[in-house]
């Protein structure tokens, strides 16, 4: 082979290898085996389908491997299919692949072969990787690889991607096909008479189709008209009107194409495989007897979700605290060693605050994604979706939306990232838009501040339950119920579709692989820090500027004078230090009042007065745009109290009591404030994440508008009804 001229490298260019396959076939495992640490994750331009590619050194030449999205077909009914199709045609962001490796699940050959047939129809040279051979053998399948290879007209290589078994043979087959594409031509087309007649008619419909091959024509006949139009103007519409849908499947050309393919596939499977004899209940079926049982299954589901929620909510907190502490230490270091001034302030309070604000989410995100990856890899996520589908469908949501929404109770940022498990873009968008309504952990300091200030003295309900605790519970419920209601409304208005069809595949239960898990965590973590983090840092600097400028000289002059007086009047010692510190706090108070944010707070007063909020809370609302819990230190600053980076419960309660004494908070105003915070979108990180995930500013701005509008209405209703009932 080495001295054969055909084996010479195809120039200096690496061979382009596309990996395709159904979901759950181990395609990603194979990709990881091949590319290892050289893989790159990105997004295809304009859509949220992730793009994975990587280089590797093959047996005799370099490869560029593209991992196409997992899909069942190439008809392009979903973004994944469209990406896979366009990539195979070289219309995505590179040339067509030299070889397509179609990963087949050996336990589920028929459905997997449909994709292989479609890839071959497009004229892409194929190699079949018969994966999960170990599982198939264990289940009692016998597959005649040589016979299958002859029938399919392409190399068929049995592999076990997890262990790496058979991968050398696969690599050689890929390079052989790259050198001689005829080796991977795939099954020759064999269409029924009805399809052949339809193809003839189609070629008469439009001269552009005269030269098109049967395989591509088959794709054009079945594809979405709009997609074909975007490519060949008018062609899709023309074909759609020439070949209308027929209620009788045998008269419908789109259905006939699929039936024709399956007829051949069934024949190959019957001829070259032997099904397990005897019992047909798989081990997965037996596990399902418990995990999908109406009672035990529900209990197991509740236990799994409780565990996941606990992990995100409680176990990630120590790590997040450590990140906060480390960032605080770095900030202190900068304050201590850099000359005072605006440069230091923007670095510490703008830039570092943004970096810290990004990194502090990382533990939660990693813990959540570890949990989701385990659920997904093991095959349980589909079962959980099956169990809750009915309840979620009532809100117009798919069953899988459960995990993102649950995670959002800890934090909407990982929750929104978790919507990636939803395949339908509209389902995903809907879930993203309602996720911020789940009461996240950042709302707790605000709830604590208010309840400690105004509900602490209310007698316990029934002598048992603290009233404040009940109010907080009510806030959690409020967010959840509103989320379902908003979901139902959006489904009927902006995002119609009646909930995507369920159509869930229940993959067999499998052991999650540490390598895969580590990879998911690395990808998610890196994308979040690099891409979302950039937006968070930018917004954080802007907010810092709002809270800082304009900086009036008069304030500084007065401050210097006051300090001078203190120094002149008081002898050096603790008393003087305290007086100076108080003067510094007073300066911060005046500066905040004069800043753009302060002026905005004053300007907001007419708009928020009907909610029972004064201008001080107005400034707090502007400040808490960065993150809700920032309300507490900002209020502290407004009321001239020393601020603290550490927002703990006691500090929050303290600030609340100060506000209550000043008359800013009463039980009714407090309730109104809590309702506002329960609903409003006040989180730059969430906005940045929505932008990153939807690839536009339209949806974060929509969420900002509708959530804050709802929050205003909710607070307005609470305050005005309360006043009408005689509360203050």
């Amino acid at each position: 082979m080495a001295d054969s001229p055909a084996a010479a490298p195809v120039g200096a260019r690496p061979i382009h290898v596309a990996l395709c396959g159904n979901p759950n076939t181990g395609k990603t495992t194979l990709f990881n085996q091949w590319t290892g640490a050289n893989a790159q994750v990105g997004n295809y331009p304009g859509i949220t389908v992730e793009r994975h590619s990587g280089r590797r050194q093959g047996p005799s030449q370099p490869w560029l491997v593209h991992d196409l999205p997992g899909c069942y077909s190439l008809t392009a009914h979903s973004p994944e299919e469209e990406v896979a199709f366009l990539a195979l045609r070289g219309r995505m962001d590179g040339p067509p692949p030299d070889v397509a490796v179609v990963v087949l699940d050996a336990c589920n050959l028929a459905r997997n072969l449909l994709l292989l047939v479609q890839v071959a129809e497009l004229g892409v040279p194929v190699v079949a990787a018969l994966n999960l051979m170990d599982a198939a053998t264990a289940a009692g399948w016998h597959i005649d690889t040589a016979g299958l290879q002859a029938a399919l007209g392409c190399p068929v290589v049995p592999v076990v991607a997890r262990s790496g078994q058979g991968l050398d043979g696969l690599s050689s087959a890929v390079e052989a096909v790259a050198a001689d594409p005829t080796l991977g031509r795939g099954p020759l087309p064999a269409w029924s008479l009805e399809v052949q007649t339809a193809m003839q008619a189609a070629r008469a419909v439009d001269p552009r189709l005269a030269e098109v091959g049967d395989g591509e024509l088959a794709w054009l006949l079945a594809a979405d008209a709009a997609l074909v139009d975007s490519w060949q103007p008018g062609l899709g519409t023309q074909l759609a009107s020439a070949f209308g849908r027929a209620a009788d499947e045998s008269a419908d050309v789109r259905r006939r194409l699929i039936h024709d393919r399956y007829r051949r596939i069934d024949a190959w499977v019957a001829a070259h495989t032997t099904a397990p004899s005897g019992q047909t209940r798989t081990p997965s079926d037996r596990v399902d007897d418990v995990l999908l049982h109406p009672l035990w299954g529900t209990l197991a589901f509740l236990a799994a979700m409780t565990l996941l929620f606990q992990a995100v909510f409680a176990w990630a907190t120590p790590m997040a605290d450590a990140v906060s502490a480390a960032m605080g230490w770095i900030a202190d270091l900068c304050r201590a060693h850099l000359p005072a001034g605006l440069g230091r302030d923007v670095l510490v309070d703008g830039f570092l605050a943004g970096v810290g604000g990004t990194l502090v989410f990382l533990p939660q995100i990693l813990v959540l994604f570890l949990g989701i990856a385990v659920l997904e890899d093991s095959g349980y996520l589909s079962r959980a979706a099956f169990l809750v589908d009915r309840a979620m469908a009532k809100a117009g949501l798919p069953g899988k939306a459960f995990v993102p929404l649950l995670s959002s109770f800890a934090c909407a940022v990982p929750g929104i990232l978790a919507t990636r498990t939803l395949s339908d873009p509209r389902d995903r968008l809907l879930t993203i838009l309602i996720a911020p309504l789940m009461s996240c952990s950042a709302r707790l300091p605000v709830y604590t501040m208010v309840t400690a200030a105004v509900f602490a003295d209310v007698p316990k309900v029934g002598g048992l339950l603290a009233f404040g605790g009940l109010v907080v519970t009510a806030m959690y419920l409020l967010g959840f119920v509103l989320a379902l209601a908003v979901g139902a409304v959006l489904r009927r208005t902006l995002l119609p579709g009646g909930g995507a069809p369920l159509l869930l595949e229940m993959p067999p239960y499998r052991m999650p692989r540490p390598g895969n898990l580590g990879r998911v965590l690395w990808d998610r973590g890196r994308v979040f820090v690099v891409e979302t983090g950039a937006t968070i840092v930018a917004l954080s600097v802007i907010l810092w500027a709002l809270l800082t400028f304009p900086r009036l000289d008069a304030d500084t002059v007065a401050h210097q004078a006051a300090r001078g007086q203190i120094e002149a009047r008081t002898a050096a010692g603790p008393a003087r230090d305290e007086a100076l510190a108080q003067q510094d706090v007073a300066l911060a108070q005046v500066r905040l009042d004069h800043s753009i944010a302060g002026r905005l707070g004053h300007a907001l007063e007419p708009a928020i007065a009907p909610l029972g909020f004064d201008w001080r809370i107005g400034i707090g609302l502007v400040g808490s745009l960065a993150a809700r819990e920032v309300l507490v230190p900002v209020m502290a600053q407004i009321y001239g109290r020393a601020s603290s980076d550490d927002v703990d419960d006691r500090f929050a309660a303290d600030v609340g009591q100060t506000m209550a004494k000043a008359g800013s908070l009463t039980p009714l105003k407090g309730l109104s404030l809590m309702v506002f915070f329960a609903i409003a979108m006040q989180c730059l990180n969430t906005l940045a994440t929505i932008r990153r995930e939807t690839r536009s500013w339209r949806w974060p701005l929509f969420a900002l508008g509708y959530l804050n509008g709802l929050a205003w209405l909710g607070s307005f209703a609470v305050y005005q009804i309360g006043r009408a009932l005689g509360y203050a």
Partner: protein, 111 residues
Amino acid sequence: MADGAQPLDAALRPLDAARLVQGDVPRALVASSSGALALTRWVPGQHGQVVHIDRADAFGDRLAELGLTPGAPVAVLRKAPFGGPMLLRVRQFVLSLRMDEAAAVLVAPAG
């Protein structure tokens, strides 16, 4: 067609027959069991072959692509409580369908 070679829940076959005979299955189901019935009217344990997908749209195409083509073996594995989705074995894999989606799949009982 080599559909007979597909692995169906052989153990369940006699059970189905028994249930049909004993009236364990609603009468309406027995009465029309000679012809095709929408999957929604099937009970767990029953199996048969796809006759027709009664939806001339992209969703029907998707069902066909997943292997629900005329003659393909289907078995109902279980139904989620409260009218939730149903679990099917189609060829060699397990698929869940909502009830309104399953209504489009017409299946003829085996045997």
